[in-house]
Amino acid sequence: MMMTKTEVLTRIERLSADRLEVCVRQAWVRPYRGEAGPVFDETDVARLNLIVELTEDMAVNEEAVPVILGLLDEVGSLRKRARAIDAALNAEGEAVCDAVLARLQQFEQTGR
């Protein structure tokens, strides 16, 4: 279900309208564009919640927010890719997995 700004504000108690405006303007949160303005989904709400927790609970300052979000996005993308590689290797069967595992162990022990 998509939500308007007003609906997002009722979902996140500690988020003010001004603050939401800042989050969108800085592109920390990137809502969909709808016919009647921006609309938000659950991913956006969870991301806004995280921003509130970073700034309110963890005293992260304004300049650090995009740095943290950017790194989290990169870690997220890397984890997604790692999962895709895991699935691809598993689909190849035990022999391929064993061969790759042996190679990885070799790299770890010899560094090359």
Binding site: M2, R30, Y32, R33, G34, E35, V39, D41, E42, T43, A46, R47, N49, L50, E53, D57, M58, A59, I68, G70, L72, D73, E74, V75, G76, S77, L78, R79, K80, R81, A84, I85
Partner: protein
Amino acid sequence: MAQSDIKDPYAVLGVAKNASETDIKKAYRQLAKKLHPDLNPGDKAKAEQFSAVTAAYDLLGDPEKRRRFDAGEIDANQQETPERQYYRSYADADPSGRYAFDGDFDDLGSFFSQAFGGRAGGFGRGGAQMKVRGKDRHFHLQVSLMEALKGAKKTVGLPEGGRISISIPAGIEDGKSLRLSGKGEAGRNGGPAGDAYVRVDITPDPVFERDGDDIKMDLPVSIDEAVLGATVSVPTIDGRVNLKVPQNSSSGRVMRLKGKGAPKSGGHGAGDLLVRLKIVMPETPDKALEDAIRDWRSRYSYDPRADWKGGNR
């Protein structure tokens, strides 16, 4: 709601019983930075610890709750914390890719750049003059079932001014995304424009319900129509048609109107409209009807549950 099994919230936060409000807040802040599940993706132990810390802080961070806990009026184990999903679980499942890292992983080696390349990188090197692909744009359209079935044209305003017009193809399914190649933001240094993605959600219709290529509809009929048969005018997505209700029709009987369903993807033909009869009794009981039915029952009765599977349960 989940219950975090904590006995001593002071111990969970690592503060003394007489800690000040500031000390408690400080302790929570330190632990949150260390344990927050979004900052420790995939670490289950830390996630569990964080939920205990949150429950403890919910109790001790609120002076009134803390007073009641200290007085023994409430128990830490009764502390309920809403079951919540952290950002990463949504980001993991997000099909739009709005928050996917848009740099490239070329430096990870040839295998990675081949396996996952092509999204952002790969347009030649050269520092500041590097060609950069424009960012993708993400739109959302809420359409009626009728618009989704018949197709529609919509326009959406752009942040930099101007409007983009979007054609919704007939027969689009709920939650589907359209990709408009090159309709994203402009590229830089001669790089290509990004793409636009349009997510389409369908508002349920009070009459028609979609089921794959078919459309389902309930049709209320009177008992006389069900008993004697009738011709009833019914709506379809292409306008009204006359539907023949056969004599002696049961409630739940499904009539199929060929080709009056949803357009099939690829533009070849359409599914069917399935009309399910629903016998509706008169609004107020009628003496004449009751007498007639009583008379009818005395001369002719039938067992509607003869073939019913529930009969011998």
